[in-house]
Symmetry: C2
Subunit: 529 residues, 2 copies
């Protein structure tokens, strides 16, 4: 029953790498070839003073100090290199000494609750030399932020989460270096973005206060730390830059997305969404930015769904219900990598709901109709049959009534968040000129389906832009360019964070937003479109 | 045969604490009581931003960041202290958060090759609350700098020496805190001085290049490090300030001595000496400072002397040879703590040589006369009997011909160093208006004896000032006062280091200076006074 690909909209997998491409490298670190005067009995200066003096006279650089770890290697290295070396400088400090004309790499990381994406970037050319993804090993301490935060309150829990995060990054670094033929000690700078909880866990900051009202972060400002202070094994004196967070549930990954997508510079009204277990939404309008965090839960990533799964091979990612005459008769689907179906992922779930609505098998309130040959089972198992078991003994894949409810909660949370922003800014949905959807899930959804079930506002298709891992692209921009770091800080400081629980009409809006119809919301009321 | 104390010059043990007393505390760190606004749903700022904002609004302080380790404790502490706390600030960074009106201590250390002296100072009042000395445990890796530097070249040798140094400092901190009823986490700042090799070993810097010509230090500039970066267990975000070194064998301890004694501010000509295994000598003259390092060896500290010992209980520290008629007949001595004699320390050795010369038992060339009842033994054991064995079975204490040779080498090295400075500056010895003698040994010697054997120039007694552990006093000054740190840096940058091996007449001077007579030196020639 697998259908030919051309009958479905191809998921957009290629836009990720385009964001921010062509940025002129203006990194935080610079390398200089230096010829150092050897010591003599008539010249009692230290090796450090020799190096700093040569940098001043040969490059006009007034460096103030040399990192302790670099200093520990300086005397043998200067002698090994016969007094000609490359000095790596960051903000007036020498953070590396190596052979002349050595290569300089940077590390950019999007540290997600579930997945970690890493990029090895040549800081001279701006090229991404390797990129890799891996699961966040903290998952074993809790799939979601709340469970993980509770783990952090155990004795040594915080330290263990910290070590897990840096352990994962160190493996990522080793693999990226293997891929690019680089050495970890050649990585002289790093930028890491993540949500606020991942940021805190990476730094060993407490999260207990982050997950209870009023959800206070330990810090939101951008930070610059020594890589070694968090156990990250790159060049021993390298820094790690952590772009600013916005609030307890809107982190630096969202800032990075706003940066990479260019959203913050648009006149707007523009919506920018990172869809996930938490969905962060920003409204850019007339130079202002307002952000909310929506507790959308795991349903859109396949969690809490009977046959749900992540977008791995065999996941149903597209669904069409075909009519025979005027009656829905059969299901077409597409799976990731065209593998035999083993479950359904978020984009497939959205499609399925929209198709069930269009076929008249699902009410606007989200109730599956009583009678149809493809609606089977009883009680909690009752559901719409998407795919027979691919092989004998393998279970059929169904979308149950309970699954529908989970998706309704998820999409109502997102839509209510959007609505709170629109109301706060006095904007009308129909005036929105662009909707940017970021994140793995956001890249693969069929926007038309999302509109049909009322998850997204009704707007012409050309106003939607699915941008993939924009957070990772933002991290790379910040890695490559100090002005981009400043731009990220400027974006974060422009953002007004809106706590949904404190907004007007929230409960009414949430109830209205759970309906599976195309609509406009205004002041908590729904108008069909 | 113990003599009454009044017949001997009492060693000057009390001047140490006087240096730099009354300095107005202007420490590098400051504490502020802050009332922080608790978070609310309408205020998404992080705890860090709340604290920094309150510091700005309540004290006009524009702090830029909070140390990572402080940030890790900030959320629970702010809640524990009900949002009222004391913030400790250093150079625009928050380095501590504690309960309001907490006490602030500082640690000053003189890290010697043999002995470590530590002081716990109240940074509010400037009072020294506790002081302690201990042996440097690195001694087990070599008594002198050269042996220890060779140990450093073994695998892990450098790291082991580093850990020994910080291990000793951590024990010192614990003991000082015990003495003063303080907690190590209340120590928010530290200053450590030592010779260049001890400085390097404490920081884990390589020393191989330091002990071979041209004796190049890794660094001479002053440094500010995080205490945790060298494993020092004081407040986790505290800094350690290391005043500048001058050259490979003239370290920050000498700078601290010049600072505390006020030597650098004198018009001069003034000589300032730190006597030890290496003796550092500075000549201050007309606003300029020149320094040399003299390889005086261990003899003046009791090393390489048959019955030599440090100035511990039972060490003979004063010697007088009494005449019967015109013949030397008996020996009077004083021991440390008036304990039964078990050996002889540096000041006793100098006295013994001077008394033997005055008694006509020792030639100007350093040869013991052939015939005298107190000159006994044969070959290498031949020597002057200072004390019979105190108890049956305990050995007699003698000063041998070989011991005399060791002292001659030591004092010739020091005198040659002085002479090189005088020649370099075109000064005459008789114009020297002050000679400052620092260090444990220097405090206890009888200056008259040192002049009599030609170790020190012939000058009236009132031109000599024995100042005790001036390096420790200088460390306390730098701890208490940022302007004093600047003054130390200014002193170091004014110093011209003179490498003795490269000076004119060095060998002639050395030979002349080995004579055991009072004399003036000029251009390598000796003139009796």
């Amino acid at each position: 029953m697998v259908i030919p690909p051309e009958s479905l909209t191809a998921p957009q997998r290629t836009q990720v790498e385009g964001l921010g491409a062509g940025t002129q490298p203006e990194p935080a670190i610079h390398a200089f070839n230096i010829s150092v005067e050897p010591p003599s009995l008539g010249d009692a200066r230290g090796d450090a003073e020799r190096l700093l003096g040569a940098m001043q006279s040969q490059h006009g650089l007034a460096c103030e100090s040399i990192d302790l770890h670099v200093l520990r290697d300086l005397p043998p290295r200067l002698r090994q290199y016969a007094w000609c070396c490359q000095a790596v400088v960051r903000g007036g400090k020498v953070i590396g000494v190596g052979p002349t004309a050595g290569r300089l790499f940077g590390l950019a990381v999007d540290l997600g609750t579930t997945k970690i994406a890493g990029y090895l970037v040549d800081l001279g050319t701006g090229e991404t030399r390797a990129s890799l993804g891996m699961m966040n090993p903290q998952i074993e301490c809790g799939e979601d932020v709340i469970t993980r935060a509770s783990f952090a309150t155990r004795p040594d829990g915080r330290q263990r989460l910290q070590e897990m995060a840096t352990g994962a990054l160190n493996r990522l670094v080793a693999d990226l270096c293997g891929q690019a033929g680089a050495r970890s000690e050649d990585i002289a700078d790093a930028v890491i973005v993540g949500n606020t909880a991942m940021h805190h866990m990476l730094l060993g900051l407490p999260v207990a206060q982050l997950v209870v009202s009023p959800f206070a972060p330990a810090i939101t400002h951008a930070m610059d730390l020594k890589a070694r202070d968090i156990g990250l094994h790159i060049a021993s004196a390298a820094s790690v830059h952590l772009p600013p967070n916005i609030a307890g549930f809107v982190g630096a990954d969202h800032v990075a997305m706003l940066l990479a997508s260019g959203a913050a510079e648009e006149p707007g009204p523009l919506l920018a969404l990172d869809v996930g277990t938490n969905t962060e939404v920003s409204l850019v309008h007339g130079g202002r930015i307002a952000s909310v965090s929506c507790a959308s839960g795991p349903a859109l990533e396949g969690g809490h769904i009977k046959d749900g799964m992540r977008a791995a091979p065999g996941a149903i990612e597209r669904v069409r219900i075909l009519n025979q005459g005027s009656q829905p008769a059969s299901v077409q689907y597409q799976t990731v990598d065209d593998a035999p179906p083993v479950g359904i992922c978020g984009s497939g779930i959205l499609d399925a709901l929209a198709q069930l609505r269009n076929a008249g098998l699902l009410s606007p309130e989200g109730r599956l109709t009583a009678e149809h040959p493809l609606i089977r089972g009883e009680g909690r198992q009752r559901g719409f049959l998407l795919a027979e078991g691919a092989e004998p003994g393998r279970q059929a894949i169904t979308l149950t009534q309970k699954d529908v409810r989970e998706v309704q909660l998820a999409k109502a949370a997102i839509r209510s968040g959007i609505q709170a922003l629109m109301e706060g800014a006095g904007c009308r949905e129909e005036d929105i000129c662009q909707v940017i959807i970021a994140g793995a899930f956001g890249s693969y959804i069929d926007v038309a389906s999302a509109i049909d079930i009322g998850m997204l506002p009704v707007l012409p298709p050309d106003r939607f832009r699915q941008v993939g891992n924009a957070a990772g692209a933002g991290a790379r921009l910040a890695l490559l360019s100090v002005p981009q770091r400043a731009a990220a800080q400027s974006i974060a400081s422009r953002v007004r964070y809106l706590e949904l629980a404190g907004t007007r009409h929230f409960m009414e809006t949430f109830v209205e937003a759970s309906y599976l119809v195309r609509y406009r919301l205004r002041g908590g009321s729904r108008a069909a479109v």
